[in-house]
Amino acid sequence: MTPPQWVEIDALLRSALELPEIEQDAWVARECEGRPDLRCEVESLLRAHRAAETFLEPNTHNHAGRRIGPYLLLHEIGAGGMGSVYRARREDQSFKQEVAVKLMRTSLELRPEAVRRFLEERQILAGLAHPNIARLLDGGYTAEGTPYIVMEFVEGIPITDYCARNGLDLQARLRLFLQLAAGVQFTHQHLVIHRDIKPANVLVTHDGTPKLLDFGIAKLLDPGASGGETTAVQLTPDYASPEQIRGKAMSTASDVYSLGVLLYELVAGRRPYQLAGTPLDQAIETICVNDPATPSTVSQDVPDDLDAIVMKAIRKEPESRYASVREFAEDIVRYLEFRPVLARQGTYRYVARKFVRRHRAGVATAAAACIVLAAAAALVVWQAQVARAERDRAQRRFNEVRRLAHSVIFDLQSKIAALPGSTPVRKELIANVIGYVDGLAKEAADDPGLQQELAESYMEIGSIQGGGNENLGDMKGALASFQKAERIARALTAAQPSFDSRKVLVEALRAVGRVYNQSSDRARASAYRREALAMARNLQVQYPANEDAKSLMAYSLFDMATLTSDFQSLQYLLEALPLYEELLKAKPSDPSRQRNAALTHKSIASYWLTVDYTQALPYLKRALALDAARLANEPGDQRAKLDLSVDYSQFGTYYYAGQDLPTAIEYQGKALSIRRELAASDPKDVWKQNRLAMALNNTANYLYEKDHDREALADLDESKQIIERLGLSDRGDIDIYARTLLLIGLVNRDMKNEKAACEQFSKAKGFYLSLGPSTANSSQVADVEKELAACKR
């Protein structure tokens, strides 16, 4: 083929393609009449054209009808720079829910580090709930590696359209805007910058609630975000701040700017800059250099105060804008209440500085004359600036600290706790973090959202110190942290009794009660637990279907049950048992629900083992089955191992009570070997050592009964050494220690070491008496008395 021929072919082909496909072949046949070579060539290319529909074209798939995880994509509702959005339905056996699924266009992000950050960040965002933000529900990667995000589905129209369509007056527009600002302020409090506020991302629902979409998502997908720099390949220049469009570090001030542009549009009817169709470099210049007309020059109805507010929000320099969205919103409220607005206070200086910048030379001479006058004023201005810089710095530091504390408490601790031998590192970390959190609490006394978060943080810190499992054995520190949480939660509940504040208060009361219980202050423990139970009952009555309320109720009942081991305690446990079983039934493979149900069964079994052991068997079996299943699911789970060892130990007691000593010793042996393994894995973990001592003690008891005195004595010595090394920090420790001494005495008496035996008995008696009167150890006290009586003879 030669170029002249090609020119003809090309022209024919282009003309043919203008026609409807069905007419093309006939047209070509007509045009090429008598020239078979030409016709053949054009027809061949037409066929190629039809086959090449997707060839070389960018990937534009329609994903409607596709299933991603539990979500069925229904139809596309929008497409933008970052990807396409589908209306979707979550279909589980338990519930149906309409959601929006955003499929990202980019797959640039598949570095492992980036994937990890995407998932972590998603976790943080998913925790944020506010009436004015569309909640992020879920997210992950499709089979092809495309990141996707699942959001609350919002049916609404962009805020600008909403205002126009409903003919809202200025006041109504401002009130709508204030709601939006509250949503943005909320995300800022949680250290999330939106980065892409624009009308398309602010939908107003039919009941007039504005909802912010996509918060945090820009950052979620931004490969450079961790370093503070952004790679703004996709952005909406009309609402982008100068720092954003220049690719510099963004902050909450960038969102203040975008909100300012949005407010400008809401009050003036158009945006400050007309950037449609402008090349990027020109847009950059406009946004970074040009001063826009004030809203009042665009629309004469805009009052001066509002002019000042909008212009302050969209200043070029981030530090000249409102220091926070809250401050921005407060100024609008001031305007609505006819009070002087802050925005106009700085106006003179602002204008003067702009003037000086434009007319540097001329100003220099004039300025000389004014120096004396200006000096006094300048000092004031300078001080104000320093104060603002201080405050900005403080705000930044505050946010950094908050984020750090949050990640140490909630992420890092649990990750490290799983590693054997990590106790010293955790202690140091927690000591640091308490200092930070105390500082945060002092600085933000007037922020209920943060106070709630701090109460939760103190709870978590307390349980790491000494309240929870895998704890650091610092009961005093734990008590202090739980009491801080209690104080905050009481104040919050008194001011505004929300579900969350009441929930954290019940949790704090329970935790304080637990610490008092462990340190033998039974009166206080009982008072705290009664209050917790009463509050939990109220919550459950008010929210019968709420799982958290149900859990709190079950926990509080369980707490009451552990105060005693008598018949009353059985009543509490029998009330708690169906709650725990219901919770488990709702999530049968949830390990903590498996554990709670198993614990309740164990506790009931434990009551029957002392009263009528034959009644204990069904409870023991259920507990063992639940714990064994949990361990099988997660074979490295140390807590599940410990729980299983308790089951074995209880079976030991059961057979011991049934006078089947060999089987009792066999089960007790199983328990002991698990505990040895656990104690060896982390020698500094107080709780694990304690449990080992307990198992040694039980084993020794059976061995003694079976007259294996030497073996019994070896176990008892080991147990005694462990307890002495750890120190006696609570009732449980004293009880085990006294029992160990009693058993050592008994074995010694068996071995005819009468003097050593009697020494041990009298020591044991002293420890038992220090516990005060209790039905739990009355039989042991009686035993010791009896043995001591034999000594005196």
Binding site: M1, P3, W6, D10, L13, R14, L17, E18, I22, E23, D25, A26, S44, L45, L46, R47, A48, H49, R50, A51, A52, F55, L56, P58, N59, R105, T106, S107, L108, L110, R111, G145, P223, T231, A232, V233, R246, G247, P279, L280, D281, I284, E285
Partner: protein, 194 residues
């Protein structure tokens, strides 16, 4: 690398038809693209799709940022970037193919994996484009802008100074020609002439 003013000037001189300006600009845009791609992909396991569009845009923004005041003549930039992208992809594919044949002799760029959804060989596409260029250089340019720089029809129209409708038709014909070249004669449809 030339600074922002120089780039602007070179783009203008090249736009006015000066071949040497092209020779100076090409390597720096080529390097820029590779650097951007490498930045994304360093340490990544191979086999992931990297959109050329994103790379070209990113390279543009980087150059604006690193070498501003500003780059005039954005159109020329994209024409160049499209060609540079084509070279990056073809060179990469050549090296990659060679690497597959004999890893000892010529190792592929470590970490650099760019695959614009390929169900064909980018080297073969490059050859076909060269042949098309002999017949119709305008179409070669349009394919470069649409495919290698990822510009839309409207953006391409702006860059080449033609109407979007014209670009769309040129693009269709070019695609048909290239498709036939790469896939051989398309099969005849079952007779359905109306």
């Amino acid at each position: 690398m030339p600074d922002g003013h120089e780039i602007t000037e070179l783009l203008e001189r090249w736009g006015a038809g000066e071949k040497q300006a092209f020779d100076r600009l090409m390597p720096c845009i080529y390097d820029e693209l590779k650097q951007v791609a490498g930045g994304y992909l360093r340490g990544e396991r191979p086999g992931h799709t990297l959109q050329p569009t994103a790379l070209v845009n990113e390279a543009y923004l980087r150059m604006v940022r690193l070498h501003s005041p500003k780059i005039e003549n954005r159109k020329h930039f994209f024409v160049l970037a499209a060609q540079a992208m084509r070279r990056v992809l073809v060179d990469h594919a050549r090296r990659h193919n060679a690497g597959k044949r004999d890893a000892q002799l010529l190792p592929p760029d470590s970490g650099l994996v760019i695959q614009p959804n390929l169900d064909f060989d980018v080297v073969a596409l490059d050859d076909a484009l060269n042949s098309l260029a002999l017949l119709d250089p305008d179409k070669e340019r349009i394919v470069e802008l649409r495919y290698f720089a990822g510009l839309s029809v409207a953006e391409t129209a702006e860059v080449v100074g033609r109407s979007p409708a014209t670009v769309k038709r040129e693009w269709s014909v070019a695609k048909a020609w290239l498709y036939r070249r790469l896939n051989g004669e398309a099969p005849h449809d079952s007779p359905s002439v109306g």
